[in-house]
Structures are given as C-alpha cells and as structure tokens.
Symmetry: C2
Subunit: 235 residues, 2 copies
DNA sequence: ACTTTTGTTGACCATTTGGTTAAATATTAT
DNA sequence: ATAATATTTAACCAAATGGTCAACAAAAGT
C-alpha cells in the first residue's frame, strides 16, 4: 500500500533524516510504478480503442493491439482474458462516453429550445473530435444487437421521458405544435450524427477538404437547431 | 451453343422422331445446365451478399459463404479468385443498387419539391427492404475510404449539379430562400437514412416492435419531406 | 531477509483461414 | 465417338490467429 505524502512526518523523533529520505524515495518509486502500471492498462485500452474502431471486432488483431500498446501479446491476455472481453470493455467505454451527453441535455431543466440548441452544438462538437465513435457504435450494434439491451438501456434508460414531458407542457401552453417526440428527436440526432458517420462519403461527394468539412459541420450546429425549432414553434 | 426451341423442326425430312426427341432432350439438358450454372454464380453472389453485409469484409468467412451457397470452397475460388475480389464485386453491386435512385431523382426534371417528396418516399421504402445495405456501405467506406474514389464518384458523379441549378432557379424566382444545397441535401439524406442505419438502437430506445418501427419509418416519408420543403419555402 | 503477489516475457500450440492442386466429372465442339 | 473445355470436388498447405505456459522480474507484505 502506498503511503500518502502527508502521512510522512520527517521530523518525528523515531526517524533520522536518512531514514526519512529512504522512505520518501521508496514512496516515490511506488507511485511511479503505480503510474506506469496504470499506464500499461491505459495504453492497452487506448491501443485497443484505436484498433477496434478502425477495424471492428473481427478485423482487429490482438498482435496489432499489443504492438500499438508497446507490450507483449501474453500481457494483453493477462489483463484481458480474451479478445471478446477486451472488446466489450472498449465498446462499453465508447458508449459510456457518448450517452451521458444525450442524457444530461435531455433531462435538464432548461427550456426545450435551449436543449435543442445545446444538443446540436455540443454533440456535433464532441463527435467531430471522436469521428470514429458513432460509426463504430452503430455498426457493432447492428452486428451484435443483443449488446444493446444491457449497455444502452442502462445508459439512456427512460431519461427521454423528460423530453416527452417538455413537449407536452409546451404544447399545452401553445408554444409549440403537438408533435411526436420520437420524430423530433430522431430528426435532431439524424441531422447531427449522420454527417459525421458518412463523412468520407459526403466529403468526396461535395469535394470538400478536411478543413472545409469541419467548417461545414460547424455551420450545421446552428442550422440544425434552427430548423428543428422552427418546425415545431407556433406563430 | 444452345439451340433455341423455335429452331428445332421436328418434321424436317432428315430427322426421325427418335432423333428429334434425342435432340430435344439434349437441348433441355443444356438449358437446365445453363440455368443451374447461372444459379451457382448467383447463389454465390447472394450468399456472399448476406454474409458480407452481416459480418463485413473481415468477419466474413469464405467457408460460410460456400456453405450458404451450397457449394465447395474451392468452387468459390474458382469463380472469384480471392476474398477481396468477391467482396469488391458484392460491394459494387450494393452501391450500384443504391446510387441510381439518388441520381435519377436528383437529376430529373420535376419541381424541386416533388423531387424531395419522391426522394423521402422512395428511398425510405427501398431501404426498409434492404436494411443492411446503407450500414454496410457506409461502414466499409469508413474503413476503406479509397474505395470511394472509383466506386462512388462513378455512381453519383456530378449529378447533383442539377440540384444546385434547381435551387438557384427557384431562389431567383423567389419561391424558396437562397439556401445552400449541401445542407438541404444532407438534411434530407440524414433524416431518411439514419433511422434505418440506427434501427436496432432506436427500436430499443423507443421500445417499438418491428411492425411499429416500420410504421414509424412510413410516417417519416411525408414528415421529412414536409419538414424540408417548409424550411426552404418562401411565404 | 524472505515469502507472496503481481507484472512481464518468449516460446509454443491448436485451430482457423484464405488459398491451391490434382484428379474426377460433366458439357461442348469437332 | 472423341478431343477439348469448363465445372466440381476432396485433400492439402502455409500463414495467421487467439490463446496458453513456464519461467523470470519486480513490488508488496511480513
């Protein structure tokens, strides 16, 4: 067990300075070791993440992951018993990274219109920097639908009931039309996510450079929100 | 060379009835053989299509394809030299199945609004029955972006220049706002395609049965078109 | 100091995979 | 009928792959 620094008392009578220094050194060594250790596991996860997202479950090679993590393949199996186990860990992490954002925005107490603006803004920003994520998640979910049950229901859950309430209330107040939440939500997610998933396709189709495409995505933040809001607003 | 039936003259003087029958039988045998032959290749393509769409390039196993086609693995390699070759054939076929619809609608001479309505209607209908297609295409395009150059540019090409013209003209006439074609197109494709790609996810999320989800997709045909049109129309 | 636990490695293994080959069978052309 | 050609198969192969093992190294607990 690593002894925290603040528990070391260099002036206590039963310790010489030399002893104190020895202790300190040991302490540091342990901490560094722990850090490198965590590094190993983290490096595995990072490497696995890259490879899985690039190649998918089947295409990924354990050797490639090990190489990318700078470790031995046996050590990979020491940390994660099997490829499937490692994959599931990475996949869950990916979903866990994406889901809370939806959940938080959806279930907050802001005005619905602000939620919509925040969603398109934050979600497009976030996923632009994790471009492989949504394609990865959706693709694997297509191939392995049973993963959804426990992974996604757990993350999203019934949090979007709040959204349903929002719509109900605003509709009663006459601020918005009595729309179906499912369609509004799907419209919003579609227009935000799809251009990221289909990026290589659309980039080619529109003959845009990487920078131009990022700019294109940026424009969409406001554009999509406005489109959605305008389509449900009354007046 | 198979001799068509209508070229067989059973009463011609140089043929006995027996000869005629023998000829006929041979004829039939050949035709049946040809049909079975085409069947073999077609069965391979069908099997490969299923397996590739389900498992992707890496996940697919040649043995599984052979089994599903009811033939030997060596025969598979006899028809298609390698896995990559077979995959490319299947992939091209998939794209070729999807792309012309976009192209035809986009480059037709109808009014823009009708194009939009036709697109959402026909595209959602079509892809509902080929649910794996878009996910397959987009996913493989993500993993193997170089395929786009020759496959997709060839199919879509610059056909959506027509759309740009449409928008220009209607904008000049004051019928629609001066919008950016790219965004309109992406909005339309997003809202049509995404719910099909993310079907397993959304189905779970909204707790819908298969039938309910199909109904949900059906509703979107009109809904999406109206949304798009309403967002660009002036008045 | 010494024992136990944890981390790391290289060599190894069984299985799977894409692909080949040589021989058999069927079809077509002469 | 026969030679040539196309189709089909079983057996085989080399390479790759996920996974294991025994042994070594480092830390932690005592």
């Amino acid at each position: 067990m690593v002894k925290p620094f603040n528990q070391i008392k260099p002036n206590s009578e039963d310790m010489t300075l030399s002893q104190t220094l020895t202790q300190l050194k040991s302490n540091l060594t342990q901490i560094i070791y722990k850090m490198e250790n965590e590094n190993t596991e983290q490096k595995i996860l990072n490497a696995a993440n890259e490879v899985f997202q690039e190649k998918g479950l089947y295409g990924a090679r354990m050797q490639e992951i090990a190489d990318k993590a700078g470790i031995n393949k046996a050590l990979l199996h020491y940390y994660y018993r099997s490829k499937e186990k490692l994959f599931e860990t990475v996949f869950r992490a990916a979903v866990t990274l994406m889901a809370p954002k939806i959940r938080n925005i959806i279930s907050s107490e802001e005005h619905l219109f602000d939620k919509i603006r925040r969603f398109t803004d934050e979600y497009i920003s976030f996923l632009s920097n994790h471009a492989f994520l949504p394609a990865f998640v959706i693709n694997e979910l297509n191939k392995n639908p049973k993963l959804i049950q426990d992974v996604f229901l757990l993350e999203i859950g019934d949090s979007f009931q709040k959204l349903r309430d929002d719509v109900q209330i605003l509709a009663n107040k006459g601020e918005i039309k009595p729309v179906e939440v499912e369609h509004v939500l799907v419209n919003m997610i579609s227009m935000s996510l799809f251009p990221i998933i289909a990026k290589p396709l659309l980039k080619t189709m529109f003959d845009k450079s990487e920078v131009d495409y990022q700019q294109f995505l940026n424009e969409r933040k406001k554009l999509v929100a406005d489109l959605i809001i305008e389509s449900i607003k009354v007046n």
